[in-house]
């Protein structure tokens, strides 16, 4: 066990535990808070994978934006579902069983393969090297320029659609 492995196991345990809290807590606000812990754990995993850019993006976009927007939405739809009420469907037992089977298949398949047991060694990339490569690939007309522009269209759709759907219509009851 190297120190790095111990760090990984600790982070993974925290991530999984908080993910379990996320899906099992009655109070939806607390579930959102545990989601933030999970996202933080995933950010550390990204840092361990040396995807620095995505570790920072995880903190910036997921924790700084998505989680905050989720909390806003939770505040806007509160006190309709009281916390005492059952938070999960009646058939949750079957779902749990199915998911467990799914997970067992996944994990047994993963651990049986040889390729996948490669040890990941630290990459030798220094400084901005990998981000520059990423940026070049993203804007290269022969590479990913089209998906990049399409992503912008997707965001445009999300912006316009989200605002259109969420806004109070004129003449509607003003809350």
């Amino acid at each position: 066990m190297t120190p790095l492995q111990i760090v990984f196991i600790l982070v993974a345990l925290v991530t999984i535990l908080s993910a379990i809290f996320v899906v099992s807590f009655r109070n939806i606000f607390h579930a959102a808070l545990w989601l933030i812990v999970t996202l933080m754990g995933v950010a550390i995993i990204f840092a361990l994978l040396e995807a620095s850019f995505f570790a920072a993006v995880q903190i910036l976009v997921y924790i700084g934006a998505i989680a905050i927007v989720l909390i806003f939405a939770i505040m806007l739809t509160r006190n309709i579902m009281s916390d005492e009420e059952m938070q999960i469907n009646r058939s949750w037992g079957i779902v749990l069983l199915l998911v467990l089977i799914f997970a067992v298949i996944f994990i047994s398949q993963i651990s049986s393969s040889d390729v996948i047991n490669t040890i990941l060694i630290p990459l030798e990339f220094q400084g901005q090297e990998s981000i520059i490569a990423f940026g070049e690939g993203l804007l290269d007309p022969a590479g990913y320029a089209l998906p990049f522009e399409l992503a912008s269209l997707l965001l445009l759709g999300a912006l316009v659609g989200g605002v259109y759907v969420a806004m109070d219509k004129k003449g509607g009851e003003k809350k």
């Binding site: 040396e50 806003f72 509160r78 320029a145 269209l153 912006l159 605002v163």
Partner: protein, 118 residues
């Protein structure tokens, strides 16, 4: 790179640890004499009614939404900006188109008055 992140990690733990220790010490040192009035919620000097966790207006969500979209957009322009020195003019134009597409959405949101605090 891992070293840099290790420093950040250590710093994060210390940054959480220092205020926690200070508060813990203060808890030990400070007197504890709670009374019912003292512990009541500070609202207008009256008993509050209805639960605190009420709904808020939709405006907050609209700001959050616009912020979220812009944030994601800007974040993926950062690799472009870093690689700027190695890109051709054509790639720069592409990035500008990327922004201009979103600017259309921004104008729409502006016209709909979603950005005005009501």
């Amino acid at each position: 790179m891992l070293n840099q992140w290790m420093y950040i990690g250590i710093f994060f733990i210390i940054a959480m640890f220092l205020p926690a220790v200070a508060i813990f010490l203060a808890r030990i040192l400070s007197p504890k004499k709670p009374t019912k009035i003292k512990n009541s919620v500070y609202e207008c000097g009256m008993e509050t009614y209805n639960p605190t966790w009420i709904q808020f207006k939709i405006q907050y969500y609209l700001y959050g939404l616009v912020f979220l979209i812009f944030d994601v957009e800007i974040v993926f322009l950062f690799p472009f900006a870093v690689a700027y020195g190695k890109l051709a003019l054509f790639a720069v134009v592409e990035a500008i188109i990327f922004i201009l597409i979103l600017l259309g959405g921004y104008l729409y949101v502006w016209r709909k008055d979603a950005l005005t605090w009501q």
